[in-house]
């Protein structure tokens, strides 16, 4: 069978399929659906220094081939995550965990990153400079190359684990932001976070989601994500995790061809809780059908 293994910063993954942050909680609850150890990794729910309820409801709206969300980083705060959530995950899962670190200022990113660095559970720190659903901070760091680089450098200085920066697509030139993060010491990149989108109720004329503009995801945004992964992989030398509308094994092959070392599956988990294991099962079959012997052999082939 074709080889679907991959690596991220020297960490071996049995396959490239990772549920994206915010679509899989802290992982352990999904163990009631299937053995989550089949996953390539798990990106944990976005965590901040302090507990957050997030935004008022309605937080969700539907669009053509996608959805809007405005959860707004609901989480119990990093101490509670480490004390209460991660032990539950470790009990049922031994694979790669990726902590997702969100915040509203550089000190907070550093604080939360250090906590995850000191805990044993997560092997990669994913720093989210691209959350569109909070008023201050979040995306502001991801839309400026300088600010993204500053967060990267500050976190890198204080932690030992590999640091991956999760980038915003709501920019004129994502490759410029990616390069700035690489130069600031990022070990890898994750892209794309959600686009900014909106829906308005045609009868009432008011935005459907409480905060108006918010995160837009799903298969609808895949062409944008793939274009950006392609553009970033053209210029950086660090590993890229591709994310944005991935729902099938073919989608995985598109992103790996664009240069991604692994992928994250987001919205599709919400529609089909078995999306990830299905893709993992399909991937080697589809590769065999296409005459592809290993993921590694096709990584970035769209550029040649």
């Amino acid at each position: 069978m074709p080889d679907i293994s991959t690596t991220l910063s020297g960490i071996p993954l049995p396959n490239p399929v990772i549920p994206a942050s915010g679509t899989f909680g802290f992982g352990y609850e999904m163990a009631s659906w299937y053995d989550i150890n089949v996953l390539g990794g798990i990106a944990l729910k976005g965590t901040t220094q302090n507990a957050r309820f997030g935004n008022p409801t309605p937080r969700i709206a539907e669009c053509a081939s996608g959805m809007l969300n405005a959860v707004g980083l609901q989480n119990p705060g990093v101490e509670a995550v480490i004390a209460e959530e991660l032990p539950k995950l470790r009990r049922v899962y031994s694979g790669l965990a990726i902590a997702n670190i969100s915040g509203f200022g550089i000190e907070e990113y550093v604080y939360t990153a250090k906590k995850f660095d000191e805990d044993d559970t997560a092997a990669i720190l994913e720093v989210n400079v691209s959350c569109p659903n909070v008023q201050h901070g979040g995306m502001a760091f991801g839309t400026s190359p300088g600010a993204a680089a500053a967060v990267t450098a500050a976190v890198k200085k204080e932690v030992k684990k590999p640091v991956y920066i999760k980038l915003s697509p709501n920019v004129t030139d994502i490759a410029e932001v990616a390069l700035a993060c690489e130069e600031a010491g990022a070990d890898g990149l994750v892209l794309i976070n959600t686009l900014l989108g909106m829906r308005i109720h045609p009868r009432t004329g008011k935005p459907i989601v409480s905060i108006g503009s918010c995160g837009f995801s799903g298969p609808a945004i895949k062409p944008v994500a793939l274009r950006m992964v392609y553009d970033v992989c053209k210029v950086v030398n660090i590993p890229v995790i591709g994310v944005g509308g991935i729902a099938t094994a073919d989608d995985v092959l598109e992103f790996v061809s664009a240069g991604a070392s692994a992928v994250q599956v987001g919205s599709q988990n919400l529609v089909d809780p078995f999306a990830c294991p299905k893709i993992i099962e399909e991937l080697p079959k589809v590769m065999q059908q296409y005459g592809i012997t290993s993921l590694n052999s096709i990584k970035g082939r769209a550029h040649t």
């Binding site: 899989f24 909680g25 309820f53 409801t57 669009c63 053509a64 529609v271 809780p273």
Partner: protein
Amino acid sequence: MTKNAIYTIETNQPIANDVFAMRLAGPTGALVAPGQFVNILLNGFYLRRPISVCDWDEAGMLLIYKILGKGTAQMATMQPGQTLNLLTGLGNGFTVSAATGKPTVLVGGGVGVPPLFSLAKQLITAGNIPEVVLGFRSSGDVFYAEEFAKLGCKVHLATEDGTAGTKGFVTTALQDMAYDYYYTCGPNAMLQAVHALSAQKGAAGQLSFEERMGCGFGACMGCSCHTQVGPKRVCVDGPVFTSEEVVFA
């Protein structure tokens, strides 16, 4: 334990204005309490549609749904023999035993009525015959008043325009009733009014909430709400919350 399976439509008929009853054949082992719901995948729509389960047996389940948008409008056009992909056994459902030995009332508004039906059956099986208060906008919207009566429940009907039963809201009918425990499902404003009135009467109960959901099984935090014991997800921690834990904004 939640499950994913394919169901075959046996019947899909209108029973009131824009309200349809759909009987589905397929596994129901995942349903363990009245008030749970299913999440339905529809061709051409990205997110599933959550619909509460009205009743079920070993062979299938009954869903009662209202046309509220394009997804449910499409559901209403589906024919017997067509299939649907469901996540089932979602949500906590009502705790039947909590009402044991207490004069009990069920209060339903509009599409909040269906989950109370299997609840009524289970309460009766447990020896507790509840009174039932049903609220609708108008006479054309009324459904299941007779079905509850056939179970042996005393049914109090209220319509906003007075075209059937008492003119007014469920609370108009509820005001003069005596009960120690209640179960209610309906629009948020109704839940809040029932909660307040019942608190005056010293009655506790369980309230089933509606919220726009992403997944329906706890993964996305799309349907979070505040409670007395911190944030909860309507889809997995609810949709049923006790009168002690609910918080109205």
